[in-house]
């Protein structure tokens, strides 16, 4: 059985074209120190505020004295989620800001290659921001996130998958609706922040909200991280559930992005980059 022509053609991925797009974003980062500094600035500020707050609380509370690192770990995991999505969406927004999207869409670059380049850049931008921040956490608070070992890799993969799913939907909406939807890139993740239980367990949520929390993969990651730090217990059941949900959401997000691209072609918004 052969695939329909557009699908077969869309699935032929060229690493060269993905590389060309990654190169384009690296050129951009290299040309702008403010962009690079911004990648480090906000995560570092957030880490310092929460880290010192944890110090203060730990001095006055037996629980937090035992739970050293849980806040800092949460802050850093949240940053992986938020900055991962921001890295994806902002790389896409760069094309809108520079009115370059039409040039890309008439080039041989396939949508799936574009998505892959955005995924790579999300990790690159995240690394630029998070590696220095993780060193600050060691230096200031004695919290070594790399001490989580293999669990860190599993947490990271789950969080980055969620961030890409959200980034895909945000980018698709901006592509279809124009720059009027730009603010979604900064706000979308905060919409789910209260429910994914970054700083508190899901059990504190009202019962009716808990089903929603457990429908979102990051909840499993944050619960898993707390289990590891507080109880020294790695929970593979939570990670498997998170991966399953992430796989489903990621597939849906790609479908949504492609549907929004088709809609953008229908309403003619690929030629316009304004509001």
């Amino acid at each position: 059985m052969s695939l329909p022509l557009p699908l077969a053609s869309a699935l032929m991925i060229s690493p060269h074209r993905v590389g060309a797009m990654v190169l384009r974003y690296l050129y951009l980062l290299r040309s702008s120190w403010s962009r690079v500094l911004e990648l480090i600035y906000w995560p570092a500020v957030q880490l310092l505020v929460w880290g010192f707050l944890q110090f203060y609380i730990a001095q006055n509370s037996g629980f937090f004295a035992r739970a050293g690192g849980v806040f800092i770990g949460s802050v850093m995991m949240w940053d992986i989620l938020f900055r991962g999505q921001l890295g994806f969406s902002i790389s896409f927004l760069e094309e809108m800001w520079s009115r370059n999207l039409a040039n890309l869409m008439i080039s041989p670059l396939r949508p799936i290659e574009f998505i892959m380049a955005l995924m790579v850049m999300s990790v690159v931008r995240l690394a630029i921001g998070m590696v220095p921040v993780s060193l600050i956490a060691i230096a200031f608070f004695g919290f070594n996130i790399y001490g989580l070992g293999l669990a860190l890799a599993v947490f990271f993969m789950n969080l980055i998958l969620t961030s890409w799913s959200v980034g895909l939907v945000v980018s698709g909406l901006v592509m279809r609706n124009g720059m009027g939807a730009e603010s979604l890139a900064w706000t979308m993740m905060f919409l789910i922040m209260p429910v994914i239980c970054v700083y508190y367990p899901a059990s504190v949520l009202p019962a009716w909200l808990q089903w929603l929390a457990w429908a979102l993969p990051p909840t499993y990651v944050f619960e898993g991280m707390r289990a590891l730090i507080l109880e020294q217990q790695f929970r593979p059941d939570l990670m498997i559930a998170a991966f399953a949900l992430n796989a489903a959401y990621f597939a849906v997000a790609i479908a949504v992005f492609l549907a929004l691209l088709r809609s953008a072609r229908r309403i003619g918004s690929l030629l316009q980059s304004g509001e």
């Binding site: 590389g19 040309s31 040039n103 008439i106």
Partner: protein, 268 residues
């Protein structure tokens, strides 16, 4: 695409945006190696037509084929052989000219890319600002860079949307001469949307005049001038735009019908 097949074939093409018929059932076929001007006032449907040919906009009905591939369904077959330039589409401002050309060259899988960049920089006089950020260039320099990007893959089909808009006469003339040279060297098919009648007269061997999404007239510049009894395409354009061309067009259609009948007779 067979030897006889048009490079661009548009058939009964319609685009409706909500309640607006931007393009209203147009058809034309451009032979390989031809240069065709798409004339029309603002809102005539030129840019939408070009966008549908590029696969950027989905037609409501009808079809646009490029080098035998239906757009946008089969676009991946032909996008590497096409390119596009418009003053309304920019390139990343912070990247240098060389970086931009390198990125697009890679996207188009241009062989021996650094040699190609050097070559095109020489042809389009980009050498002095090849390593400057694209956003820091003047409008004329940006147009030359956009043209370099449009020619980086030596396209067989080149679509240009007002390529000399907002340029001073000297730079505009320079751009036209480079386009003439490219067409002569490469034998590419060029479709050019423009408001500049002198440009169309100079570059195009065929002119399609659009008005409110429809084709009002379609012929060589010389025949259009003769038919409307005018000396410049600008006058022809104004006749069409102001509806004064209908009488002339009626006469012209009669003449075209007579010419067709004569050709048929000769063929028999």
């Amino acid at each position: 695409m067979t030897a006889q097949e048009p490079a661009i074939a548009v058939t009964d093409l319609v685009k409706v945006y909500k309640t607006t018929r931007a393009v209203d059932g147009i058809s034309f076929a451009l032979p390989p190696g031809s240069v065709t001007g798409l004339l029309g006032g603002n809102g005539a449907g030129k840019t939408t037509t070009i966008a549908m040919i590029l696969g950027l906009v989905l037609p409501t009905s009808g079809s646009a084929r490029v080098l035998g591939a239906e757009m946008p369904r089969q676009r991946n077959r032909v996008l590497s052989r096409m390119n596009f330039e418009s003053p309304y589409v920019d390139m990343p401002h912070r990247l240098t000219v060389r970086q931009n050309l390198a990125v697009f060259g890679r996207l188009y899988a241009v062989a021996d890319l650094s040699a190609r960049i050097t070559q095109i920089a020489g042809e389009l006089d980009l050498g002095e600002f090849l390593d400057r950020p694209t956003g820091k260039l003047s409008a004329g320099q940006k147009t030359r860079v956009a043209l370099a990007k449009a020619l980086i893959n030596s396209p067989d089909v080149l679509l240009l949307d007002e390529p000399t808009a907002s340029l001073d006469p000297d730079t505009a003339d320079w751009v036209r001469s480079r386009l003439e040279r490219y067409r002569a060297e490469r034998g590419a098919t060029v479709l050019l949307a423009s408001h500049n009648m002198a440009e169309v007269e100079r570059l195009c061997d065929r002119v399609i005049i659009m008005k409110r999404g429809r084709i009002e007239d379609d012929d060589t510049p010389a025949r259009l001038l003769a038919r409307y009894g005018r000396e410049t395409l600008e006058e022809v354009f104004l006749d069409v735009a102001r509806g004064r061309g209908e009488a002339a067009q009626g006469t012209a259609q009669q003449a075209a019908a007579q010419q067709g009948a004569a050709q048929q007779e000769a063929a028999q």
